[in-house]
């Protein structure tokens, strides 16, 4: 009798421990796992937060997260930062996004601008499938995904003389950098699909020597760009336009005009104008990245 009582006590402890494990905020449930041609893809859910993780074993890098109870809200600081380009071009009609990830950037732009034509380029069909199955991404009449290398897509768009008003380059996973998307020649090709008032927003690296090399390369191709960094994010966003960059006052008034529309997504647009800088804070003697010289994956580790 006594021993049975003891057993029941133990059982209660186990149950308690189990409950604690499940409700613990660090317990992530794996919803999906697959190995694609390019990477290992994992979808994890932790409470309301669902994340797309690439190459788990090499140090968990969250590619995109959504809050499933409030999917409109953008979880990552860098994702929100890519919308700072709207300060220069508040009403884009033709949008190109290179790199789908979990699809939060295209979904947000499509929600903001339902009339805009949005082309998304993603090299990995598996990422497209996962974005649709787990991250609420959907193609529609105005938003199409092409499964192709971004360089090829952009070169063909240039040959067909297509222009985009708003271009987001977000093709870098934390793990492997497509070296042919960092070069001067590639940026020249991007230039071909921009009108004078088009805006290019590039999510790039803020640490390592690559920061200097990328900065030098963008500077060579575009002369001047807005450098956008926040203490809350390890990313650096480059914002570029072929026309001269607008003065800060113009950015502030643009922010005031459209900030309200951004609230729903959690984008603090009013804070951004003060953070856009044209100050050179990189080593100008760094070597330019070209199709002839682009060892980005080696430079990152040095």
């Amino acid at each position: 009798m006594k021993s049975r009582h003891k057993d029941r006590g133990l059982l209660a402890w186990v149950a308690l421990l189990f409950a604690a494990l499940i409700s613990s905020p660090t317990f992530a449930e794996t919803l999906h796992r697959e190995r694609s041609l390019y990477r290992d893809i994992t979808v994890e859910q932790n409470g309301d937060r669902r994340c797309l993780v690439f190459n788990v074993r090499r140090g968990d890098r969250n590619q995109t997260c959504v809050d499933v109870s409030d999917p409109d809200r953008l979880v990552f600081s860098y994702t929100r930062m890519t919308f700072a380009g709207l300060l220069l071009r508040p009403d884009p009609e033709r949008i190109l996004i290179a790199g789908l990830g979990g699809g939060s950037i295209p979904l947000t732009l499509s929600d903001m601008y339902p009339e805009a034509q949005i082309d998304v380029v993603e090299i990995d069909q598996a990422v497209v499938n996962v974005a649709k199955d787990y991250f609420f991404f959907e193609e529609n009449d105005n938003m199409k995904v092409s499964v192709i290398d971004a360089r090829i897509f952009i070169k063909r768009a240039g040959l067909a003389d297509r222009k985009y008003d708003y271009i987001v380059l977000d093709a870098f996973t934390g793990d492997y950098i497509p070296e042919h998307l960092l070069t001067r020649e590639f940026l020249e090709e991007v230039k071909q699909i921009m009108a004078p008032d088009s805006v290019l927003v590039a999510n790039t690296f803020s640490s390592s020597r690559l920061y200097d090399h990328e900065s030098v390369t963008y500077q060579r191709v575009f002369n001047e760009f807005f450098n956008f960094r926040l203490p809350t994010s390890g990313n650096r966003i480059i914002i570029v336009q072929l026309d001269p960059l607008p003065p800060r006052g113009q950015l502030v008034s643009a922010a005031q005009r459209i900030a309200e529309r951004m609230e729903k997504y959690g984008i603090p647009l009013l804070e951004y104008p003060a953070r856009l800088s044209t100050r050179v804070d990189w080593d100008m003697s760094s070597r330019l990245l070209t199709d002839q010289y682009s060892p980005a994956n080696l430079l990152r580790d040095n």
């Binding site: 360089r151 497509p178 002839q292 010289y293």
Partner: protein, 224 residues
């Protein structure tokens, strides 16, 4: 003693020279191959399919080269032909530097699918120089072999060294050269190395024949 194989004309090249040159050819094959995908990435992207095209064409070109090189070694194997393989391979690497864009641009426009585009571009850019480099191995074996018995031993040594060269070329290019040099500079380096190899063979051959001729003349003079 094993059965003598017909000895090549004049005095044959020293074994060490042939083995050394096999290292150079193995090195250059893999240097060009490693850069092959990089050169095509602006037109066909950087994904696995481009590697697939490059490796397929290199394998086919080498296979073809082995066949032809073996054939050419049957009759009158000689050092001058051997040297010409190196020099010809160098010359046919030049279009990769000089006309790569000129060749890839129309292919990019004409062929929508990057798989077949990159395959076609690989054929045009890499097939000829790689098959010439492939001819070097069987021809080297022929120059080295004096008896049937040690033919396997010689072939083993040769493939050992040329494959070590390939490993060194792969590692050097992908780890270091791309960090220090531009793609075309590395290709120029390979071309210079191949031409230098050809010239060394010609020079060694010339010196050997000169000394043979001299000793023959001396022997003739003694006799008379």
């Amino acid at each position: 003693m094993g059965k003598k194989v017909n000895k090549p004309q004049a005095r044959s090249l020293p074994k060490n020279v042939i083995i050394g040159m096999a290292f150079v050819s193995g090195f250059c094959i893999m240097t060009v191959e490693m850069l092959g995908a990089r050169i095509m990435s602006p037109y066909f992207g950087g994904s696995l399919l481009v590697w697939g095209s490059v490796i397929t064409i290199f394998m086919l070109a080498l296979a073809f080269g082995y066949l032809i090189g073996g054939r050419l070694s049957i009759r009158n194997p000689n050092a001058v032909t051997y040297a010409m393989f190196f020099i010809a391979a160098a010359v046919f690497c030049l279009p990769v530097i000089l006309f790569a864009d000129f060749i890839m641009e129309p292919i990019f426009i004409a062929v929508e699918d990057p798989r077949y585009g990159s395959l076609l571009a690989s054929v045009i850019l890499y097939f000829v120089p790689t098959s010439i480099l492939g001819m070097i191995s069987p021809y080297s074996v022929r120059l080295l072999v004096e008896t049937q018995e040690h033919s396997g031993h010689m072939a083993g040594q040769l493939f050992f060294v040329s494959t070590l060269g390939s490993a060194a070329g792969t590692l050097g290019t992908s780890f270091y050269f791309v960090l220090w040099f531009e793609v075309n500079q590395i290709l120029w380096g390979s071309i210079v190395a191949l031409i230098a190899a050809g010239c060394i063979i010609l020079l060694v051959n010339y010196l050997l024949n000169a000394s043979t001729a001299k000793s023959r003349v001396q022997r003739y003079e003694k006799q008379t």
